[in-house]
C-alpha cells in the first residue's frame, strides 16, 4: 500500500498542470491536439508497441490536472473512451493512428430514452452483399466535430450488439451538432440508411456490448479524476474567497456556519479523491467485468453526489459573485454539473451497483471485493 508517485508520474502530472495553467480554456475549446500528440498524452493507457505508456493511474493524474485547469478538450471522449474501445477490440492499427494524432474517433452509443444504458440499442445494422446499412439515432455523442470516424453500436439481426466504424462524412448521416454550456461540442447523429463497407465491422454482434462497457467504464473513471480536479479548485477558491471577503467587519470565513460548510466540502472532496483512486485501481486490478462495473459505478455514484454538493456550495458561499459569468467559479460549477451526469448519473450508477451487488449471488459479491 503505497500512494507515492513514481518520478515519471510526477513528471506527467506536472507537465499537464503547466499546460493547463498556460492554456486556460474557460468555456472555449482550443484544439491543442497536435501538442497532446507530441507530448505523448494521446498514448496514455495504450500499449507500448503503439507508442503508449502508463495505465489508469496515469490517466487519473492527467485528467485531475485537466479538471484543475478547466481544460475543455475531447480527451476523455476521443482518447480514453475511443482508445479503450479500440484496445478491447484488438485494433492496434487504429489505436496507433489515434496515439499519433492521425485519426480521431468519437463513440456514439446512447439512444433516445435509453437513459445511459448502452444495452438499449434500437439502431439496426442490416447485412448485405457489399457490407452493412445502418438505421437509427444516437444522442449525446461527445466531441463529434473533430472526429473523422464514429464508433457506433447497432444490433445486427438477433445476434446482439455490434460496433461499427462509420466515416464522419458518410452519406445519409445527419449530424445536429451544438455547443454545450460547458464548452464541448455534442451532437445527435441520425443514420438514415448509411452504407458501410464489410470491414466497417469493428466488433462482431454479441461482443459489442462488453467492449463498449469496458470503454464506458474507462471513460467514467477519467471523468471521476476530472471531477476531483474541478472540485479541488472549487474548494480552494471558496476558502480563499471567504478568507478575503469582509462582511460585518470580519472575514466571512470567521462565521462558524460557513466554516462547517467548508469542512463538509473538504470531507466530500476527500471521499471523491479516494473514489477517483479507487476507480483507477479497479480498472487496473479487475479482470472480471462484473467487479469492474461494480467498482466504477460505486465511484461515479459517490463522485456525482460529492461533486454536486461541492459545486452547489461553492456557488452559494461565493454569493452573488458566484453567479457572474466573469468569475471563474461558475465555469467549474457548470462543468461539474455535466461531468456529474455524463455517462450515467447517480441514479443510474446506484441502480447498476445494486443490480450487480444485491441481485447477484452473495458469494460472488464477497469474492469480488
Amino acid at each position: 500500500m503505497d500512494f507515492t508517485l513514481s518520478p515519471e508520474q510526477v513528471l506527467l502530472r506536472d507537465s499537464v498542470a503547466r499546460f493547463a495553467a498556460s492554456h486556460p480554456a474557460n468555456g472555449t475549446r482550443p484544439d491543442y491536439w497536435k501538442t497532446f500528440a507530441e507530448l505523448g498524452w494521446l498514448g496514455v493507457g495504450a500499449p507500448e508497441d503503439v507508442g503508449g505508456f502508463g495505465g489508469p493511474t496515469e490517466t487519473l493524474l492527467l485528467m485531475e490536472q485537466c479538471g484543475r485547469g478547466l481544460v475543455a478538450s475531447p480527451y476523455v471522449s476521443q482518447v480514453v473512451f475511443a482508445g479503450s474501445v479500440l484496445r478491447e477490440a484488438g485494433r492496434t492499427d487504429l489505436l496507433k493512428q489515434l496515439v499519433e494524432g492521425k485519426r480521431r474517433f468519437a463513440v456514439a452509443y446512447e439512444e433516445p430514452h435509453a437513459r445511459y444504458d448502452p444495452s438499449r440499442v434500437d439502431t439496426q445494422a442490416q447485412e448485405s452483399a457489399g457490407g452493412w446499412t445502418l438505421h437509427g439515432t444516437k444522442i449525446r455523442v461527445l466531441d463529434p466535430s473533430t472526429a473523422d470516424t464514429y464508433i457506433v453500436s447497432a444490433r445486427s439481426r438477433d445476434e446482439g450488439v455490434a460496433l461499427f466504424l462509420v466515416p464522419a462524412t458518410s452519406a445519409n448521416l445527419e449530424r445536429s451538432a451544438y455547443p454545450s454550456e460547458d464548452g464541448h461540442d455534442v451532437a445527435e447523429l441520425r443514420f438514415d440508411g448509411v452504407r458501410l463497407d464489410r470491414d466497417a465491422l469493428l466488433v462482431r454482434a454479441g461482443d459489442g456490448l462488453e467492449v463498449l462497457e469496458a470503454g464506458i467504464d474507462a471513460a467514467t473513471a477519467a471523468l471521476c479524476a476530472e471531477a476531483l480536479g474541478l472540485c479541488t479548485v472549487m474548494l480552494e477558491t471558496t476558502v480563499e474567497y471567504l478568507k478575503m471577503r469582509q462582511q460585518f467587519g470580519v472575514p466571512l470565513s470567521s462565521f462558524q456556519a460557513l466554516q462547517h460548510r467548508m469542512a463538509e466540502m473538504y470531507i466530500e472532496l476527500e471521499l471523491m479523491r479516494s473514489m477517483a483512486y479507487f476507480a483507477a485501481k479497479t480498472l487496473e486490478d479487475e479482470t472480471d467485468p462484473f467487479a469492474r462495473k461494480r467498482g466504477i459505478s460505486a465511484a461515479k455514484a459517490q463522485i456525482a453526489k460529492s461533486g454536486r454538493f461541492i459545486g452547489q456550495q461553492a456557488i452559494q458561499l461565493h454569493g452573488a459573485i458566484g453567479m457572474s459569468e466573469e468569475y471563474k467559479i461558475g465555469h467549474y460549477f457548470k462543468r461539474m454539473s455535466f461531468v456529474e451526469r455524463l455517462l450515467g448519473d447517480r441514479d443510474y450508477h446506484l441502480r447498476r451497483f445494486v443490480e450487480l451487488t444485491y441481485s447477484a449471488p452473495r458469494e460472488a459479491v464477497a469474492a469480488a471485493w
Partner: protein, 372 residues
C-alpha cells in the same frame, strides 16, 4: 378552525383565472411556458392589461390605486398569475419603492411617482447592494453629499435586476459619515436613470442570461426633494422594504407549475423509475407542507398579525424547493439534452442567495424566533 376557502373566495379565483386566460397575450404565455427570458415590452404589455383592470397593485392601499383585497385574495391572485403562466409583476416599483413612498414619502412624492408606477410608465430598479456589501448591507459606501438643494451621489451599486430597463432607481447612500452605528446616516434617494453620471454595465450570469447589472453613479446630482423621509432615516425604510420582499419569494404556485412540467418531462423521456418518482414525490410533499405553512402565515395576517420572521421559512424552503425542481428536471433530461433545462438550473442557483441569503434567514430564525 376553518381550513377551506369560502365560496366568495372560490368565485374570486374563478374570475381571476378567466381574466388571465382571456387577456394574457398568447406570445407571452408561450414564452413563460418555454422558460424563455422576457423583454421589457412583455412586462409592459401585461402590466398595462392589469392596470386597466385595476388589478396592478394588490398590496397598495385602495386610496392610491390598490385593490383593497385581504391577504387571502391577494394570495389567490398571486397563485392564479402563476397558474395562468402570467409574468410576475416586476416588484421594484410596485412592491418595493411604492410601499416606502406611501409610508414614508410626502404627498408630492406620492402624487408624482405612484401613478406612473401603476400605469407602467416608469420602470424601477433597486440600488441596495454594492460590490463590497452583500449580506452586510449596512457596510455600504455610496455617498450623497449635500450641495445646495442637491445631493451629489458617488458610488457603485451591483446585482441590480432590470436596471437596463429602468427609468428610476432608488438608492441607499450615506448622507453623513459613519459615526457610532453604521446603520445611521443612510438616506433613501430616488434617482432618474437619465441623470448625467448614471451608467449601466451588463453582468452576464452563468446561465448566459442578462438580468443583472452594475450601476455606476459618478457625480450624479439629484434634488434634495428626491429623498424619501428623513435624512439619515434610510435604514428604517430599507428594513421595512426587505421584510416585504421576503414574503414574496416562496413562489409556491410557480413551483407547482414546475412540478407539472417536470412530470410531463418525465413522461416524454419515458422515465419509468420508481426511485425518480419518489424523488419527485419528496419535493411534491414538501411543497404541500410549505403551501400549508403559507396559508397559516396568511391566516395570521388576515387576523391582523403583521408577517413576522416566520416568513423566513417561506423564503428558505421555497427557494430550496425551486432548486430541487430544476435539479430534478436536469436529471430527467440528462446532460446536454436540453439547454433550457441546464440554464434554468444554473439560473436558479441565485434563489438561495438573493433577498437575504438562506444563511441570513437561518440567523433571523435563530435570533428573532428562537431568541438565542
Amino acid at each position: 378552525m376553518n381550513l377551506t376557502f369560502s365560496p366568495e373566495e372560490r368565485a374570486f379565483r374563478a374570475e381571476v383565472r378567466e381574466f388571465i386566460a382571456t387577456r394574457l397575450p398568447d406570445d407571452i404565455r408561450r414564452k413563460m411556458q418555454a422558460g424563455d427570458h422576457l423583454e421589457k415590452d412583455d412586462y409592459y404589455r401585461w402590466q398595462r392589461v392589469l392596470f386597466e383592470r385595476g388589478w396592478i397593485a394588490p398590496n397598495w392601499p385602495k386610496q392610491y390605486g390598490g385593490t383593497g383585497w385581504d391577504p387571502i385574495r391577494r394570495h389567490i391572485f398571486s397563485e392564479e398569475l402563476s397558474y395562468g403562466w402570467a409574468p410576475r409583476l416586476l416588484p421594484f416599483g410596485l412592491s418595493m419603492v411604492a410601499p416606502v413612498i406611501i409610508n414614508f414619502g410626502n404627498d408630492e412624492q406620492r402624487a408624482r411617482f405612484l401613478p406612473r408606477i401603476l400605469s407602467a410608465e416608469d420602470f424601477w430598479c433597486q440600488g441596495y447592494s454594492e460590490p463590497g456589501s452583500g449580506s452586510d448591507l449596512a457596510s455600504l459606501s455610496t455617498k450623497a453629499e449635500r450641495k445646495g438643494d442637491n445631493y451629489v451621489i458617488n458610488g457603485t451599486k451591483t446585482w441590480i435586476t432590470a436596471a437596463q430597463w429602468a427609468d428610476w432607481i432608488f438608492v441607499l447612500a450615506r448622507t453623513s459619515p459613519v459615526e457610532k452605528k453604521r446603520q445611521e446616516g443612510i438616506s433613501f434617494i430616488l434617482v432618474d436613470m437619465r441623470t448625467p453620471g448614471v451608467t449601466v454595465r451588463e453582468i452576464t450570469t452563468i446561465d448566459g442570461g442578462h438580468e443583472i447589472n452594475e450601476v455606476h453613479l459618478e457625480n450624479v446630482e439629484v434634488p434634495v426633494t428626491n429623498r424619501v423621509g428623513e435624512e439619515g432615516g434610510g435604514w428604517t425604510y430599507a428594513k421595512f422594504l426587505l421584510e416585504h420582499e421576503r414574503t414574496g419569494t416562496a413562489g409556491i404556485a410557480a413551483c407547482r407549475q414546475m412540478l407539472t412540467q417536470l412530470t410531463e418531462l418525465r413522461d416524454r423521456e419515458d422515465i419509468e423509475d420508481r426511485r425518480f418518482d419518489e424523488r419527485i414525490a419528496e419535493v411534491d410533499i414538501e411543497l404541500t407542507a410549505l403551501a400549508f405553512t403559507e396559508l397559516r402565515v396568511l391566516a395570521a395576517e388576515s387576523a391582523g398579525t403583521r408577517p413576522g420572521p416566520e416568513s423566513s421559512i417561506l423564503k428558505l424552503k421555497g427557494t430550496e424547493i425551486q432548486q430541487a425542481l430544476t435539479e430534478l428536471a436536469l436529471d430527467a433530461g440528462g446532460p446536454y439534452a436540453d439547454v433550457a433545462l441546464a440554464r434554468h438550473y444554473f439560473n436558479l442557483r441565485k434563489a438561495t442567495i438573493y433577498a437575504g441569503s438562506n444563511e441570513i434567514q437561518k440567523n433571523i430564525i435563530a435570533k428573532q424566533i428562537l431568541k438565542v
